[in-house]
Amino acid sequence: MNKIQRVMGILFGGALWTATGPAWAEWELNLTEGVTEISREVFDMHMTVMWICFWIGVIVFGAMAISIVKHRKSKGVTPATFHESTFAEILWTIIPFVILISMAFPAAKMLIKMEDTSDAEITIKVTGHQWKWEYEYLDSGVKFISSLHADSREAATPGSGIDPTTVDNYLLEVDNPVVLPTGKKVRFLLTSSDVIHAWWIPAFAIKKDAIPGFINEMWTVVDEEGTYRGQCAELCGRQHGFMPIVVEARSEAEYDEWVTAQLAAAEVAASSADREWAMDELMERGEKVYGTYCAACHQANGNGIAGVFPALNGSPMVLEDIEGHINIILNGKPGTAMQAFAAQLNDADIAAVVTYERNAWENETGEIIQPATVKSMRIQ
C-alpha cells in the first residue's frame, strides 16, 4: 500500500513538475547543467529545443483538441468538403524549415568548438577493457586501472542479500578515480583493447566511443572542484552496466600532490619482487586485486557461476597445482573468458592474488607465494 501511494505520488508530482516548468532544472528529471562551459551551453540548447517542441506541440495538439471537441458528429455538424490548399502546404513546409535552420546554425557552431582539442595542458589516455577502465597520464606517467568498487560489486552479486540503497553511490563508485586539476584544458585519448566502449561524464557533456585499434579525442575544462560520475555508454558485454567512471576535480596544488604520491607508489610496486612479503600484506593486497580483476566472473565468494565461470573455492587447481595456478593468471586460458594478466598486473599483485585465492573462503592451504616466484615464472 505504502509503495503504491509513493508511486502515485510520483506520478502526480511528475505531472505537476511538467506543468510548472522551473522544476525541470532539477537533477533526476532533466539533463544536468554540468560544470563546464560546454556542458552549460549544451544544457541551454537542450532547453531551447525542448521549449520549441513544447510550443509546436501546443499548437498541433491544440488544433486537434478543438476539432475533437467541436467538430464531432454528435454535435450535429455537417462535414466541410475542403481537402486541399497549396498555400497551407507551402506555409507549413517553409515555417518549420526556417525554425530548423535557426536551430541548426548555433548547433554547428557549438560543434566546431567541441571538436577543437588543440592546446591541451594535460593529456590522459583512456583504454576500455572488458570491464574496467585504464588511465595513463601521458605527461606525468601516472598509470592505473579503475574498476567498480568492491562494495557495489558485492551488493550486485545475486543472492548477496545486501540492499543496494545502503551502498554509497551504488554502481557509480570505483576503486581508483581519475583526478584532474580544475581550470586546465584536459585532452582525453580514447581507445580499447577488446570491444567498443564509450566514456561519458554527464556533468562535462562529453561522450565518445573507445574503439579497438583506433584513437578518439575529446577535451574538457572543469570549473568546479568535486566528484563527477558517469558510466560506460556502449554495450560491451556481460558487465557493461558495471564499469563506472569517477572523476575528481581538485585544485592544481592538490592535483600535483596526488601525482607525486602516485609516482612514489608506483616505484614501491616496481621493487616489490625484491623483498620477502608477509602473509597479511599479501592477503590484504590480494583481496583488493581479486575484487578488481577476478570477482566479476569468479564472484566475490569464489563460487563462480555454474556452467559459465568455474569456482575457485575448493578448486583442485587452486588447492594443489601452484605452478598451474600462477601460469593461468599470467597467460590466460585460450578459448575461454580467462584472459592473460601478465601485462596488466605486476609480480606483487599476482603473488598476492594467488596467495589470497589459496587462503580465502574454504581454501585453507596456508601457502604464501612470494612475488619473486612469480617473477621467475615470467622469465621461463
Partner: protein, 529 residues
C-alpha cells in the same frame, strides 16, 4: 464487385468455390487473404513472445540490484526483444495487412506472384524457430544488441552462425514479400486506378517495398561479412587485418535507417485511411502526403550516421548528418499538419480504429519531438545511448507503428470476419493501452536525461523510482494486449453482422465487396471512372 462476381472466377490452381479443407489449406494456400491471415496471426504470436521478453527486462529493472536474471541473459533478452519485435511483429503485420487489403484496395484478384507469396510467409516460422532456438545453445543467444556491433557480436557463442542464417532467412522473406507488393501494384491495378488515385496505404506500402528491396540485401551483406570475419579469416571489421569496426556501423545503419522508416511508413498509410473515414471528410492534401512519404524515403538514405555521432566522425560529417536529419522533420511535419487539417471541420466519431489513429498522431508526434532533439549533434552527445533514446524510439514504434497496425486491424476486422467486434472491449483496450504505454515510456525520458545508460541490467539507486513506474506500466500494457486477443477471437466466432460499407464514412474499393470478403474478389476487375 460482390460475391456474385467471384463465382465467375476460374482458377486452375484450386477449387474456385472456396478454400481447400483441413490444415493443408494453410500450408499450400496461394490465396492472398489466407496468407494475410497467416501473417497476422504469426505477428500476434510473436508480439506476445517479444512482449514476454520485455517483461523479463522490466522485471529485472523493477528495483536496483540483480534479482532475477544473469546480466548475460539480460543482454540476450534486450537483443532478442528487438529482433522479434522488428522482424517478427511489425514487419509481418504490415505484410499481412498488405496481403489482405492491397489487392482489394486496387481492385486486383490476388497478389501478382501467389506461389512466391506462400513461400515468403512459410520461411518466417522456420527463420524464427532458428533464431529463438539460439537461446538454448551453449553460450546463450546473441547478446550484443540487435545492431550486432563487432567486435562484441563476434564474442557470441555457438549461436552466431544460426543467428546470421536466420537473419538471412528473414531478409529473403521480406524481399520476396516486397517484390510481390511492387509487382502487384505495378501490374494488377484495376482499369482506371491510376497511381494518383491509389489509397494512401497502397502508396506508403509501394514506397516501403522499394526501401525493403533496396536495404535488406545490404543487411544481408553486412551480416555475411561478420560471418566470414568470425569463421573464414576475413577482416572487414578487425583492425588487426586492416579492417575497421566502425565500418560495420556505417553499413548497418545504411540499412538500419531506411529500416526505421519501413517500420513506420505503412502505419502512416493506415492512419491516413482511418482518419478521413471517421472524420467523414476527404484526406487533406492527398498529393502532398504522397510527396512527403517519398521525400522521407529518399532522406532516409542520407541520414544514417546520426545513429553513431559518438564514434568520432570528422566535423564535416557530423554537421552534414545533423542537417539532413533535421530536414526529415519537414515532410513528417507536413503529414501531421495534414492529418489535423483532415479532422478540422469534419464530423468526427470515435470508434476504436479512430481512437488508435488519434493516439498515433499525438504520441508519434511526441516521439518525433524527441527525435528532433536527438538530431542535434552537440546535445545528442548527452542523449546518445541513454534511456532518452529508448523512450524516443519506443514512442515512435509502440504508440506509433503498433498503434497504426492495431488501428488497421480494428478498421478492417468487420470486413474480414463479417462481424462487428465488441466496441466496448475495443475502447477498453485502447484506454488501458494508452494509459499504460505512457506510464511505461514517459518516465524513460527522465531517467535518460538524468544519466541512465541503456542496455544495463542494474542501475544506481537514484533511477529507482522512475524505473519502478515504467515496470508497472510495462505489465499493465502487456496484459492489456490480452484484450486484443479476446476481442479478435470473439469477433471471429460471431457478433452483430457487418454491412458491406461497415463504416458510415468509409470510401474505397474494399468496402464495395460483401462482408466477410469472399474468398476470391475482383475477378473480373472493376473499372474505376
Amino acid at each position: 464487385m460482390n460475391a456474385q462476381a467471384t463465382d465467375a472466377h476460374h482458377d486452375s490452381d484450386h477449387d474456385h468455390h472456396g478454400p481447400a479443407p483441413g490444415l493443408m489449406r494453410w500450408v499450400t494456400t496461394t490465396n492472398h487473404k489466407d496468407i494475410g491471415t497467416l501473417y497476422l496471426w504469426f505477428s500476434l504470436i510473436m508480439f506476445f513472445i517479444g512482449g514476454l521478453m520485455a517483461l523479463v527486462i522490466r522485471s529485472e529493472l523493477f528495483q536496483p540490484g540483480l534479482q532475477l536474471v544473469d546480466p548475460h541473459f539480460f543482454n540476450q533478452m534486450t537483443t532478442m526483444h528487438a529482433l522479434v519485435m522488428i522482424f517478427g511483429v511489425v514487419m509481418p503485420a504490415f505484410v499481412g495487412l498488405a496481403n489482405w487489403m492491397l489487392p482489394m484496395m486496387i481492385g486486383a484478384p490476388d497478389m501478382a506472384l501467389p506461389r512466391m507469396n506462400n513461400w515468403s510467409f512459410w520461411i518466417l516460422p522456420f527463420g524464427f524457430a532458428m533464431m529463438l532456438s539460439t537461446l538454448l545453445m551453449e553460450g546463450g543467444g546473441p547478446a550484443a544488441g540487435w545492431t550486432l556491433y563487432p567486435p562484441l557480436s563476434l564474442q557470441t557463442g555457438d549461436a552466431f552462425p544460426f543467428l546470421i542464417f536466420s537473419i538471412h532467412l528473414l531478409g529473403v522473406s521480406s524481399i520476396m514479400g516486397a517484390i510481390n507488393i511492387v509487382a502487384t501494384i505495378m501490374n494488377l491495378r484495376a482499369p482506371g486506378m491510376t497511381f494518383m488515385k491509389m489509397p494512401l496505404f497502397v502508396w506508403t506500402w509501394f514506397i516501403t517495398a522499394y526501401l525493403l528491396i533496396a536495404v535488406m540485401p545490404v543487411l544481408a551483406g553486412a551480416v555475411t561479412m561478420l560471418l566470414t570475419d568470425k569463421f573464414f579469416g576475413t577482416s572487414f571489421f578487425d583492425a588487426a587485418g586492416g579492417g575497421d569496426p566502425v565500418m560495420f556501423q556505417h553499413i548497418f545503419w545504411f540499412f538500419g535507417h531506411p529500416e526505421v522508416y519501413i517500420l513506420i511508413l505503412p502505419s502512416f498509410g493506415l492512419v491516413s485511411e482511418i482518419i478521413p473515414t471517421f472524420s467523414r471528410k476527404r484526406l487533406f492534401g492527398y498529393s502532398s502526403m504522397v510527396y512527403a512519404t517519398a521525400s522521407i524515403a529518399f532522406l532516409s538514405f542520407i541520414v544514417w550516421a546520426h545513429h553513431m555521432f559518438t564514434v568520432g566522425m570528422p566535423l564535416a560529417g557530423e554537421i552534414f548528418f545533423m542537417f539532413t536529419t533535421m530536414l526529415i522533420a519537414v515532410p513528417t511535419g507536413v503529414k501531421v499538419f495534414n492529418w489535423v487539417s483532415t479532422m478540422w471541420r469534419g464530423a468526427m466519431t470515435f470508434e476504436t480504429p479512430m481512437l488508435f489513429a488519434l493516439g498515433f498522431v499525438v504520441m508519434f508526434t511526441i516521439g518525433g519531438f524527441s527525435g528532433l532533439m536527438l538530431a542535434m549533434t552537440p546535445i545528442d552527445f548527452q542523449y546518445h545511448d541513454t534511456y532518452f533514446v529508448v523512450a524516443h524510439f519506443h514512442y515512435v514504434l509502440v504508440p506509433g507503428a503498433i498503434y497504426g497496425i492495431i488501428g488497421g486491424v480494428y478498421y478492417w476486422l468487420p470486413k474480414w470476419t463479417g462481424n462487428m467486434y465488441s466496441e466496448s472491449l475495443g475502447k477498453m483496450h485502447f484506454w488501458l493501452s494508452t494509459i499504460f504505454v505512457n506510464v511505461l515510456f514517459f518516465p524513460m525520458h527522465f531517467v535518460g536525461l538524468a544519466g541512465m545508460p541503456r542496455r544495463i541490467p542494474d542501475y544506481s539507486v537514484q533511477f529507482a523510482d522512475f524505473n519502478q513506474i515504467a515496470t508497472i506500466g510495462a505489465f499493465g500494457f502487456g496484459f492489456s494486449q490480452i484484450l486484443l486477443l479476446v476481442l479478435v477471437v470473439k469477433c471471429i466466432r460471431g457478433g452483430e453482422k457487418a454491412t458491406d460499407q461497415v463504416w458510415e464514412g468509409a470510401e474505397g474499393l474494399e468496402w464495395t465487396v460483401s462482408s466477410p470478403a469472399p474468398y476470391h474478389t475482383f475477378s473480373p476487375q472493376p473499372v474505376i471512372k
